[in-house]
Assembly symmetry: C2
C-alpha cells in the first residue's frame, strides 16, 4: 500500500476520552521541541508542578506528570507504595476498580475486593466492614469517578475511613480531575493519579500523579526495590525536583508536557470552581435534551457524574449503527458501553473543552436525527 | 508566580536526543485529536505498523509502538519475555547495559553480566564464554548503539551466538534505528526496542518494539502473568492487531502517534539505505571539522557511531561554560558526558533530521567561537 501523510477528519469528541482538545493546547503541542534538560524546559516543568498542585488542590511537593497514560499512573501508585505481601482493600464498581485488583495482584500484593453494582458508588459501610475483617490492610484503593459507569463515589468519606484504619488511600481521579469537586489536601488523599485526556482536555499520554507526606514516607521506607525501573518514583524525583541541577532518568515527552502546561493554565485561568460549575451546567442542558428524546440515565442523579453521562440505549435501537451514523454523518464521537454495559449503554462525555453549549446542541440534534 | 503560555526558544538539537524534529512532524503532531478507537485512527495505526516493519527490516507481525519512552520499551521486552528465576546474559559497556541489569533483577531474573570498557563494543568472545559458563542462560541482551558512549556493537554476530546457544536476543536499538544498518530479520533478532526521539526525529515519548516468532512463542508459553499490567503485550496486542474490531487496553497517545507516522513516512520516502548514508556523510564532515579544531574522538573509528559523536573535552576547557555558551549564544544543544564520562566528554548528535550540512556547519562554527 502507498502511505501518505495522515490528515484526520476533525471530530467532536464526546466519548469517555480523549475529550475535545482546544486549539490553544494543540498549538502549544506543536511548538519546537527542546531538550529535556534545557533550563527553559526545566522551568516549564516547575510551572507544570505548580499548576498541577492547583488542579489537585494540594501542597504536595511530590506532584508530577508520569510520562505515560493514566493506566501507567495507576501502576505508578501501586508499584511504588504497595510491597509484596501487603494487603489492599480495593473497591470495584466498574472496569477501573478491576484493573486496580490486577495491579495489586501482579506486584504480589493481596487484594481484598469490596464489590458494588456497576453504576453505583462505592458503599462506605462495606469498606468499614472490610477494614474490620482485615485489620492488617494497609491501603484503601478506589475510583473517584468510574469512567466505565459514570458514577461518583464519596472520596472524602472513603479517605477518612482509610485514615481511621491507619491505611493509605490510593485514588483514581482520571475522570474526576477538573470536572467535579476534588480536594486532595482537605480530604486527606494520600496518593492520586489522573489522565491528561479527560477533563483537562489535553492530548492523551500523560498522567498527573501526587503523593502526600504519608505516601512519600511509605515509599522511602520500602524494603524492596520498586519492581518497575521506569515507574520507580525514587528515581523519577531526581528529574522532577531539586533546585537547579536535575538528574537524567528517562527522556521526558517534551511536547506533550507543553500541551499539559497549556491545558492546566487554561484551567487556572478559568478557575477550578468555575470549571466544576461549567460541567454541571452543561450536564443539566444535556439531561434536559436527552429526557426530551426519551433517553434514560443509568446512574441515579445523586451520584451521577456531570462529565460522563451513561445512558440506556433505547429498546430496538442498533447500538453500533447509531454510533456509526453520529461519526460518519456528524463527525461526532460518543462512547460505547464497557464491560457489563457493552451493548446496553452509551457514554456521553462532557469533559473539559467538550463541556460547551455548542457540543451539547450538536449531540442532541445528531442523536435526534440518528434515532429517527 | 504568574504563569503564562510557554513559548520555547527554538534550539538546534545536537545532543544525544531528543534530536531536531522536522516541521513536517511538528505539523502532524498538532493535528486535531480523534478517538483512539476511531476507524481512521485504527487505519493510521496499521500504517504505523507497516512503516515500523520497514524501518526495522522485519516481517514480524508483532511490531508496535509502546505508549511511553524508550525506557518503557526496554522494560516491555524484559518483563514480557523473562520470567522470574530465568538467566539473562547482559552485556554492559555503558549506561544502558546497566539499566538492562536493573530490569532483569527487578523482575526476579538472574543477570550474568559481561562487562566491556566504556567506549568499546561488546566483545563477542566474552559472550561466547559466558554462554559456556552458563548453559542455562535463556537470553542475551545488549545495546546495539550505546547512547552513553557512541560505540556500535556487532548485533549480527551477537544474535547468532544467542541462536547457537538456544537463547533469545533482546536488542536495544534506541539510537541505532534509522541511523546505521539494522536488519531485524536477516540478523535473527528476537526482540528489539527503540525510541522515537533519536534517528527517527520524532518527538520523545514513544517506543517502537518488535517481537519475532520465537519471542512471541516465549510470551505465549509464560507460566506467570507479566508483572506490569500496562506493559503486558498479551493485552496490548488486542488493541494493536486484528482485522476490524480492536479491544480497549489503554488510551493511545493519539497525537504522538500522528508524529511517529509522519517521521516514519519521511524515512520511507528517503529510503533506509539513503538515511544510513546521510548519517555517515554528515559524520565525516563533522569529523573533519572537529579534527581541525583539535578535538579528539573517544571511540575508535572501527566502531564509532556516525549519529553520536563522543569527543574528549579539550584540556583546560570548562565543560559547563562551553555548553552554556553554545546554548545561550547559538541556541545549540550538545550533550554532556554521562556516567563515567561526565565532565570528560561531549556527545554531539547527528540524528535523523539533525544530520544536515547546516547543522554540522553551525556546530563547528559555534564550537570554534566558544573555545576561543
Amino acid at each position: 500500500m502507498t502511505i501518505t501523510s495522515f490528515h484526520p477528519t476533525p471530530r467532536t469528541l464526546m466519548g469517555p476520552g480523549p475529550s475535545d482538545v482546544s486549539p490553544r493546547v494543540l498549538s502549544a503541542l506543536g511548538r519546537p521541541t527542546i531538550g529535556h534538560l534545557d533550563p527553559e524546559f526545566i522551568g516549564m516543568m516547575d510551572e507544570v508542578k505548580e499548576l498541577l498542585k492547583y488542579a489537585f488542590q494540594t501542597t504536595n511537593e511530590f506532584t508530577i506528570a508520569v510520562s505515560a497514560p493514566g493506566s501507567a499512573g495507576m501502576e505508578t501508585c501501586f508499584v511504588n507504595l504497595v510491597e509484596p505481601g501487603e494487603k489492599v482493600i480495593v473497591c470495584v464498581n466498574g472496569v477501573f476498580g478491576s484493573r486496580m485488583v490486577e495491579n495489586v495482584e501482579r506486584l504480589g500484593g493481596i487484594a481484598v475486593v469490596v464489590e458494588d453494582q456497576w453504576g453505583h458508588p462505592v458503599d462506605c459501610d462495606k469498606v468499614t466492614a472490610a477494614f474490620k475483617a482485615n485489620p492488617d490492610a494497609k491501603f484503601l484503593a478506589f475510583v473517584h469517578a468510574e469512567t466505565s459507569t459514570g458514577a461518583l463515589s464519596d472520596a472524602k468519606t472513603l479517605c477518612q475511613i482509610a485514615r481511621d484504619n491507619d491505611a493509605l488511600s490510593i485514588v483514581d481521579a482520571v475522570t474526576s480531575l477538573g470536572g467535579v469537586e476534588l480536594r486532595v489536601d482537605d480530604w486527606g488523599i494520600d496518593a492520586i493519579y489522573s489522565g491528561s485526556q479527560k477533563c483537562l482536555s489535553c492530548v492523551p499520554g500523560i498522567s498527573p500523579v501526587s503523593f502526600g507526606p504519608r505516601a512519600v514516607a511509605k515509599l522511602e521506607q520500602r524494603d524492596s526495590k520498586v519492581q518497575s525501573w521506569f515507574l520507580d518514583q525514587t528515581l523519577v524525583m531526581g528529574y522532577w525536583s531539586g533546585k537547579g541541577k536535575r538528574s537524567y532518568h528517562h527522556t521526558a515527552p517534551v511536547n506533550s508536557l507543553y500541551a499539559l502546561h497549556e491545558s492546566l493554565l487554561m484551567l487556572q485561568q478559568e478557575g477550578l470552581e468555575n470549571a466544576w460549575a461549567r460541567h454541571a451546567k452543561q450536564h443539566q442542558a444535556l439531561k434536559a435534551g436527552l429526557t426530551e428524546l426519551g433517553i434514560e440515565f443509568i446512574v441515579d442523579e445523586a451520584y451521577r457524574l456531570p462529565q460522563l453521562n451513561t445512558v440506556k440505549i433505547p429498546a430496538g435501537v442498533d447500538d453500533a449503527a447509531v454510533r456509526a451514523t453520529l461519526l460518519n454523518e456528524f463527525n461526532l464521537e460518543i462512547g460505547a458501553g464497557l464491560g457489563v454495559l457493552a451493548g446496553k449503554a452509551w457514554r456521553i462525555g462532557l469533559m473539559g473543552y467538550a463541556a460547551r453549549s455548542e457540543n451539547v446542541a450538536l449531540c442532541l440534534a445528531a442523536l435526534k436525527s440518528a434515532l429517527k
